[in-house]
């Protein structure tokens, strides 16, 4: 809208997504200053972080309940659309934005949540902000932003099935580290990215922040347009409006030969299924690899690796496939979409989870849950011994009752393996949905390339 002499720009925000954890103080700030929400029609809210995934209407934690109640009152007072626990559109904010057609190519999208990068999969500029900025956007529909550096990550070739989008992005983070793209917006491109479904692209962009990039993006193409045209997307444009927009969206792609501040090429055909072994998403290796020695990890200091291994209770040299797990979590804004449940189900059909393994399947939204149930996936999960839950963020950050106990070890399709992330002293290994399902059956990590699945 306007550029200032110091290089910052006043950026108009097309969509603000709101959840219960990072918004109450922002609404309170508006109240104290006597301000309104400038564009309620551009603001969409849900409750996802605190939500119990069993009996969602019986929130036992009074502080969590107060936060859930607060977003209800705030949205009512300020006229913001809220998909609450009674809504068939409720779900993890980054799952419902795309599936409801709220997220569209070419938009600027913000949310008080670092995984807002997810929406870049549509060729949108989407990034996470703090609560002060949430308030700022509510009040002004604008943000002051400095243009980030540009980082091109090209995945050449094709991944070898069942290697997935999750493995691609984990591989990248392992290569460049969790600060490798700080200050940058990543554009993901190349044959392997083009070959991904929207679901896979959302997974890749979702974890751009784990490489330090506030925004990750993918040029919109036929896959993108198909996703918007098909399916039930009540907020997406239709008819002539949509045709006109698609013509515009086709112009959004980066010019051929454009120069980037940083560039990296990764041969996707050589990527193996990935498993993290430490307490940072960059502490990751191939499933047929071993837990590394403390002085052999690029990008991490010896003492940091020693601390991570001590926390994780792992010894250097242990084959990754020897690591036994007692918990499996399939869900989150990273891998809580319908494709993830379809992929996992292939490994669960006619199988039983290993003895002593507690396995949770948490659909990313009510829509994902209904779709999975319509396809009979819930039965496959339940017959295998999984708990089939209601939608929410759940054990990705364990703000609700779904938590690891101290010392428990989880194969998780989420995005962060930080200390305490899934529960104090809990141990997290990040993997794809396929890898999590296979680990649930075996009771330890297995190389999914070697597992035969029923078609």
């Amino acid at each position: 809208m306007k550029t200032f002499p110091d290089g910052t720009a006043l950026l108009y925000i097309d969509r603000q997504l709101v959840h219960e954890v990072t918004s109450p103080q922002a609404f309170e700030g508006l109240r104290l200053a006597g301000r309104k929400v400038r564009c309620p029609e551009r603001t969409f809210a849900t409750m996802d972080h605190n939500v119990p995934t069993t009996d969602r209407f019986n929130i036992k934690d009074p502080i969590a309940k107060a936060q859930i109640d607060a977003i209800g009152k705030n949205c009512k007072d300020f006229g913001v659309t809220l998909f609450d626990l009674h809504s068939d559109k409720q779900g993890v904010i980054h799952i419902i934005g795309p599936e409801l057609g709220i997220t569209l190519p070419g938009q600027t999208i913000v949310c008080g949540d670092s995984h807002t990068a997810t929406h870049g999969a549509f060729g949108a500029i989407a990034f996470g902000i703090g609560t002060s900025e949430v308030e700022h956007v509510l009040a002004t529909q604008c943000l002051h932003q400095k243009k980030p550096k540009t980082f091109k990550v090209e995945f050449t070739g094709r991944v070898q099935s069942p290697v997935s989008a999750k493995d691609m992005v984990l591989k990248l983070i392992g290569m460049i580290g969790t600060a490798g793209a700080t200050g940058c917006a990543i554009e993901f491109c190349g044959e392997a990215i083009r070959a991904l479904s929207m679901e896979g692209r959302l997974t890749v962009c979702n974890m751009a922040i784990e490489a330090g990039a506030r925004a990750g993006m993918i040029a919109p193409d036929e896959t993108t347009f198909q996703y918007i045209v098909e399916g039930c997307r009540p907020y997406a444009p239709k008819g002539k409006d949509l045709e006109r927009l698609i013509a515009y969206w086709k112009t959004l792609a980066t010019d051929p030969g454009a120069k980037f501040d940083k560039e990296l090429t990764i041969d996707a055909s050589k990527i193996a299924p990935q498993v993290t072994w430490g307490t940072s998403p960059g502490m990751v290796t191939d499933v047929d690899g071993r837990v590394p020695a403390p002085d052999q990890v690029s990008g991490y200091g010896k003492t940091d690796v020693e601390k991570a291994l001590a926390y994780m209770g792992l010894k250097s040299g242990t084959p990754m496939t020897d690591i036994r797990i007692d918990t499996v979590f399939i869900g989150s804004c990273t891998n809580g979409r319908i494709e993830d449940f379809r992929a996992a189900a292939k490994y669960l059909k006619g199988q039983k989870v290993a003895q002593g393994v507690r396995a949770l399947a948490v659909p990313g939204s009510q829509q994902v849950k209904r779709q999975a149930e319509a396809e009979g996936l819930d039965k496959i999960f339940k017959n295998a011994g999984f708990e089939w839950r209601e939608s929410g963020c759940s054990m990705c950050l364990a703000m609700n009752p779904d938590q690891l106990k101290p010392g428990e070890r989880c194969a998780s399709t989420s995005n962060r393996n930080f200390e305490g992330r899934q529960g104090k002293d809990g141990r997290t290994h990040l993997v794809s949905a396929e890898m999590a399902a296979a680990a649930a059956i075996a009771g330890h990590f297995v190389d999914v390339r070697k597992v035969k699945v029923n078609p």
Binding site: L10, R35, N50, T131, S132, E133, S280, M399, R416
Partner: protein, 209 residues
């Protein structure tokens, strides 16, 4: 926001890289709908033993560092979740500055602070100072050898002066001119943006909404 004034304070050496916002303030403290009261939650998982007593091995609990107002850590401080509660907790505990080093060189150089954390810090008047890796090495070593080591932060001059027993050591830092001005003047964001009200309205009209 209050204008940032130069000050002298104690240095707390937190010798860790990739200190994420989950570590700065674990999720159980994010359920509050208030903006205050987070000081007790800062570094909770590291700071307290399972019985709730302070963990004597954690640097924040050690007597020499009780009055520290300058937090020094390693690269990629504040990575992970966007939770502004992390900045609130650091500020409300009493820290006014966080120092972290960049990493790598030339094209491979990466900033000392994660983007969202740094932005949140600006909004709350918490100054993030990025120094060279060797400079932060020196400060961490000095603060461990001389517990209670103090430093003076001079924003107008863009310097950190370590008051080491042998001699004062001065490190200069770079800062975005816009951010520096905000700190020196204590400016409020929404007020600044709303000065452009007519431009925003004109843009909205042009877009047809």
């Amino acid at each position: 926001m209050k204008a940032f004034e130069n000050f002298r304070g104690g240095v707390l050496p937190l010798d860790r890289a990739n200190v994420d916002t989950d570590a700065i303030i674990p999720k159980q403290f994010l359920k509050s709908i208030q903006r205050t009261g987070f000081e007790g939650a800062l570094f909770s998982d590291w700071r307290y033993l399972p019985d709730g007593k302070p963990n004597p091995a954690f640097v924040l609990n050690q007597e020499d560092f009780q009055n520290a107002t300058i937090l020094v850590a390693r690269n990629n401080f504040g990575c992970g979740s966007s939770r502004e509660h992390a900045v609130w907790a650091i500020c409300q505990y009493g820290f006014r500055v966080v120092i972290a080093p960049w990493a790598g060189e030339d094209k491979g150089r990466v900033p000392g602070f994660a983007d969202i954390f740094r932005n949140n810090s600006v909004k709350n008047g918490l100054l993030t100072v990025e120094l060279a890796p060797a400079e932060v090495d020196w400060i961490l070593r000095a603060a461990q050898e001389e517990p209670g080591l103090e430093a003076t932060i001079h924003l107008a001059d863009q310097t950190v002066t370590l008051h080491h027993s042998v001699e004062d050591k001065v490190f200069r830092f770079e800062i975005d001119a816009h951010v520096k001005e905000r700190f020196l003047q204590g400016l409020d964001d929404i007020g600044i943006t709303l000065k452009d009200e007519s431009a925003i309205t004109a843009f909205e009209k042009k877009q047809g909404f």
